[in-house]
Amino acid sequence: MTALFSAELLRLRTTRSVWLLLVAGQVLIVVGVSGVMLDRDDIGSPSVQQTAVAHIGLISLLSLVLGIMAVAGEYRHRTITDTYLAVPRRGRIVAAKLAVHAAAGLVFGVVTASTALAASAVWLAVRGFSLDLGSADLWLTVAGGVAWIAAFAAIGVGVGALVTNQIAAIAAALAWLALVEGLVAPLVGDAGRWLPFALGSALDRLPTAVDGPPQWQAGLALIGYAAAFVLAGVATTLRRDIT
């Protein structure tokens, strides 16, 4: 398996869209943080600072795309043939992609969190305030945001293994987050708190997350989603004809 990890890591490093997503994430997080820091007058308050930093978690949309591309991108460029010729036990490939991309998601999250904290500190300094680094809430949000980004990368690998048409997989995933979950939530009552975006919001302690489960439960539930998607993806992958 070590050889598979190193192969997938090399594949990740040599995929240009990976770097584009990472850069786009940093641009978006700076925009998100700046919006709060420019708009509000009470940015000295720890809760406002926490609101600004909570944008970290929203970058999970990009890590979800990253995870989807890990598998579906191979179908798109038809490198999947070569990959399965080298390793006919397809479950191992999906497992290696899962491990490498969950780790990559974690790195993506840490980089994004660092950018968010740095951007916040700069804005605060410019306006004569300082970041309240002693606030436990701030750090819980940072940790939750990073975990959300990593969890969505893992879910993306599962989605990509399940829906191997890259465009369809990305469109469906983003449509769920932007539209469908919001429509479905009122129909399912309390269960709506356990839908993926609601869980991420709770994990990240987004201001819009009300009545969500505690952070640790939200994190576990997202891991559960990742496991479910990956298992479903592996089950279909094992049977699929590569033509």
Partner: protein
């Protein structure tokens, strides 16, 4: 001595039977795998390589299904028409990933690039490659594991006359080393100079297996090939 054997191999995609009860044995040397487009050649090769699951029958490499080999790339090298490359990666990066997956030493990457004549272009992105260069990269990938068996699907596509001559030389060299080489093609003339034996497929069934000379017989090679692959009327009346 590594044999490839197929017996009772059938594949149905929904209502379409792509391959019906195919059977043959391939021994060391170069074997041409011939038939018009849509004859079932590619599906047969993909079943042999564990990419497509047979509806029934068996396809074995040295007595074992492809997917049962621990590091199959060291036994079989394949270059399939539909295998692709990520355009943003260089040839070296592409081969390095495959080498790691296949459990092949990294130094093989430079060796196979040299074998197919891509050393000078190895650090260029594959997106800028011509069709012929991609074909060479596919062959490099097949050679990576120094395999005893090579399965090449239409390897001549996109090669210029000089490239074709080079390919013929490569195939002869591989056969001279005692390897088993299967080359598919829908152009008979392309392989006639190179192969020792032929398998002819048409409409999903194997129509002929044997020495090239046997096929040629009295009708001539072209005539025999056309006869085997043009009986569409008879085919249509079969159940």
């Amino acid at each position: 001595m590594t044999d490839v054997s197929v017996a009772g191999l059938t594949k149905r995609f929904g209502a379409v039977t792509a391959v019906r009860d195919a059977g043959f044995i391939v021994t060391p040397g170069v074997t041409g795998f011939l038939g018009p487009n849509g004859a079932g050649k590619t599906t047969t090769l993909r079943m042999l390589l564990g990419l497509v699951r047979p509806t029934s029958g068996v396809a074995l490499i040295d007595g074992r299904p492809y997917a049962r080999w621990e590091q199959p790339r060291r036994i079989v090298g394949a270059c399939l028409e539909a295998s692709g490359f990520y355009p943003g990666r260089t040839a070296r990066e592409h081969l390095a990933i495959t080498a790691r997956l296949a459990g092949v030493a990294a130094r093989r990457v430079d060796q196979v690039l040299d074998e197919v004549g891509l050393t000078a272009e190895a650090r260029r992105r594959v997106g800028g490659y011509s069709l012929g260069m991609r074909q060479r990269l596919g062959l490099a990938s097949a050679l990576l594991g120094d395999p005893q068996v090579l399965i090449l699907d239409e390897p001549g596509n996109g090669l210029d006359p000089a490239g074709m001559a080079w390919l013929r030389g490569l195939l002869r060299d591989l056969a001279a080393q005692g390897r088993t080489v299967i080359v598919s093609s829908h152009v008979l003339a392309e392989v006639a100079q190179t192969v020792d034996r032929v398998i002819v497929m048409h409409a999903g069934t194997v129509r002929f297996t044997g020495a090239l000379d046997e096929l040629a017989g009295s009708a001539g090679l072209e005539g025999a090939f056309l006869q085997l692959t043009s009986d569409i009327a008879r085919e249509g009346s079969r159940p």
